[in-house]
């Protein structure tokens, strides 16, 4: 049975909708969650590493098979169509996947709590994505649809995170217009503060010729109910600084 990268799928990953996005998150040119498909059975599988804050790989998932490296602290829970990695002492759920075979609406739901190699926390929580600091208060990007034509290059969201001693509390997004390969693609609805706020209205980011481009953001962020459709990369993280205490 051979497993290949799945270029076409529908999934809820970190509470956000992903449609046909081969690279969900990329950091320094490296993707750390890959959606795969069994070429014979069509079964969906995931490749991912669960990395703790110290940079140690504590669990590996390859073609939907889970290998626990830290058996003392982690347990694997599995029933048909669902499997999870749970931290024994705290009950924290580090990995949870539900596969929906035969469900045309959705192929799977996935949540993962992990870290980048530089110690930056990435929480693909079942209801939201959090990237960056552990001190974010409420800088949400809410109800946003990022869509493009199939095969378009570039990420939907590029996030630059430079961890500092004092975490940024607000996520500033560039004011409109935003441009990309398709030209001017739309604008975020203006807010009084110039910040993205909870409950922000839906914005269709579809530009000229049906193309859209990436949005650059600075600082850690929450993503709620964001849809990523047809981008090559969902979220690209630019964070060269280490987040780990020296």
């Amino acid at each position: 049975m051979s497993w290949i990268e799945a270029r076409e799928y529908r999934a809820i990953i970190g509470g956000c909708f992903f449609l046909n996005v081969p690279t969900i998150i990329e950091h320094n040119g490296q993707q750390f969650i890959t959606v795969k498909k069994n070429s014979a059975s069509g079964q969906i599988g995931i490749d991912a590493n669960i990395i703790d804050a110290s940079g140690k790989t504590i669990a590996e998932i390859r073609n939907d098979q889970v290998t626990i490296k830290d058996r003392e602290n982690l347990q694997f829970v599995s029933v048909r169509g669902r499997s999870s990695i749970v931290e024994s002492k705290t009950g924290k759920i580090l990995y949870d996947i539900q596969l929906f075979s035969g469900d045309l609406q959705l192929d799977f739901k996935l949540s993962i709590a992990t870290h980048l190699a530089n110690g930056l926390p990435i929480f693909l929580h079942p209801n939201r994505i959090r990237i960056g600091s552990s001190n974010i208060l409420k800088p949400h990007i809410t109800s946003l649809k990022l869509a493009t034509q199939k095969g378009m290059k570039g990420p939907a969201l590029q996030i630059r995170v430079a961890p500092t001693a004092s975490a940024k509390e607000y996520l500033h997004v560039p004011r409109a217009p935003m441009t990309g390969p398709g030209g001017i693609i739309g604008k975020l609805l203006p807010t009084k503060t110039g910040q993205v706020e909870p409950g922000m209205p839906v914005l269709m980011m579809v530009g000229k010729n049906g193309m859209a481009a990436n949005i650059s953001l600075e600082g850690p962020c929450y993503l709620l109910d964001v849809a990523f459709e047809n981008f090559e990369i969902g979220i690209e993280i630019d964070s060269s600084l280490t987040n780990r205490p020296k």
Binding site: V79, R82, S84, P126, R128, R130, P198, L224
Partner: protein
């Protein structure tokens, strides 16, 4: 599973093996848990559940329809009766059947079973009729896969089995396998000898414990469409017999002029954990279905606000039943 005093270790090990094998087969009926289970309630119930983050678990003996339990009890009694004839030639087994028939009901002992009901289907006309007869019913959809670990009480979920043939097969299989092991263990013994090392009492307890769980999972085939699951909490205590115990959890309400014992199971810990990113726990309320009502859109807005107030970091899925109100 603590053995009775004097019950030989070797026999206990074999009984535990049998129990493990039976439970393995039994658990196949109850896994996997559906990704969403729905609890039907009224508008008052919905607000109560979402304000207190808890469900009321009613003592099963006092559930709305007492005939539900009577059905399972009668079925087990009937099968025990017919099986006792099959094994009547063996004195020890005959005595065992006699004792089991008199004691298998969990409601006669100290154990109290509390439960809350859930359905696989979030839009059932029969449930809307029961919980929102004049409109205004709601179905709260929860994902129990991880949630069950975060509940305030050690609860478990069991699927209700409706198929008559299946129910009989399960009970007969349990009795046959238990009889087979008991028969093997008491070869050459009479009742007195089988009692002397507590073999007979231990086997009675064994069957009663397993049947005690079966009894709240079997329902009349007429109710098949309910696709019910029960969140169950077993309180191994009888307030009348154990007066030293803590009964602060035990509460009472009225229904139809009757006094109904219940206890609450809180999911507040799950709500709190779901707000923390590093817990990886889904917001427990995955979906809310508004039953047939005069103005579903009106209710949808208020219910959305109610759920958003609980967790602003979650977009609740709120559906409206398409069943016409006049059908209620």
């Amino acid at each position: 599973m603590e053995p009775l005093q004097g019950f030989p270790q070797g026999k206990m090990e074999r009984l535990i093996s049998l129990r493990t094998a039976i439970l393995e087969g039994w658990m196949r009926y109850h896994t996997p848990i559906p990704s969403i289970l729905f609890h039907y309630t009224t508008a008052e119930g919905l607000i109560g559940i979402l304000n207190s983050f808890s469900f009321w678990m009613t003592n099963l003996r006092y559930m709305n329809d007492l005939s539900e339990l009577q059905y399972a009890t009668d079925l087990i009694a009937e099968i025990l009766e017919s099986k006792s004839l099959e094994y009547a030639s063996n004195d020890v087994l005959r005595e065992w059947f006699q004792r089991v028939r008199n004691t298998f009901s969990p409601f006669d002992g100290g154990t109290q079973v509390f439960a809350t009901c859930f359905c696989e289907n979030g839009n059932l006309l029969s449930q809307w009729r029961a919980y929102g007869g004049k409109g205004g019913g709601y179905a709260i959809g929860l994902d129990f896969f991880h949630l069950v670990r975060f509940l305030s009480k050690r609860c478990f979920l069991r699927k209700v089995i409706y198929a008559g043939d299946e129910q009989r097969r399960i009970i007969m299989d349990l009795i046959d396998r238990t009889c087979s092991l008991l028969k093997e263990m008491v070869v050459g013994q009479d009742v007195k000898q089988a009692d002397s090392d507590n073999t007979l009492p231990e086997f009675c307890l064994f069957l009663n414990r397993v049947l005690g769980e079966y009894i709240f999972c079997l329902k009349h085939p007429e109710f098949t469409q309910e696709q019910e699951w029960r969140l169950v909490y077993i309180w191994d205590c009888n307030p009348i017999l154990n007066r030293e115990s803590d009964f602060s959890d035990l509460k009472f309400r009225t229904f139809g002029g009757n006094v109904i014992p219940y206890c609450e199971v809180s999911f507040e810990n799950a709500i709190k954990a779901s707000r923390q990113d590093d817990y990886g726990l889904l917001f427990p309320i995955q979906e809310l279905v508004i039953g047939p009502t005069l103005d579903p859109e009106f209710n949808k807005q208020s219910v959305t606000t109610l759920l958003t107030k609980i967790n602003p970091d979650h977009f609740p899925i709120i559906k409206k039943s398409a069943i016409p109100l006049r059908w209620l």
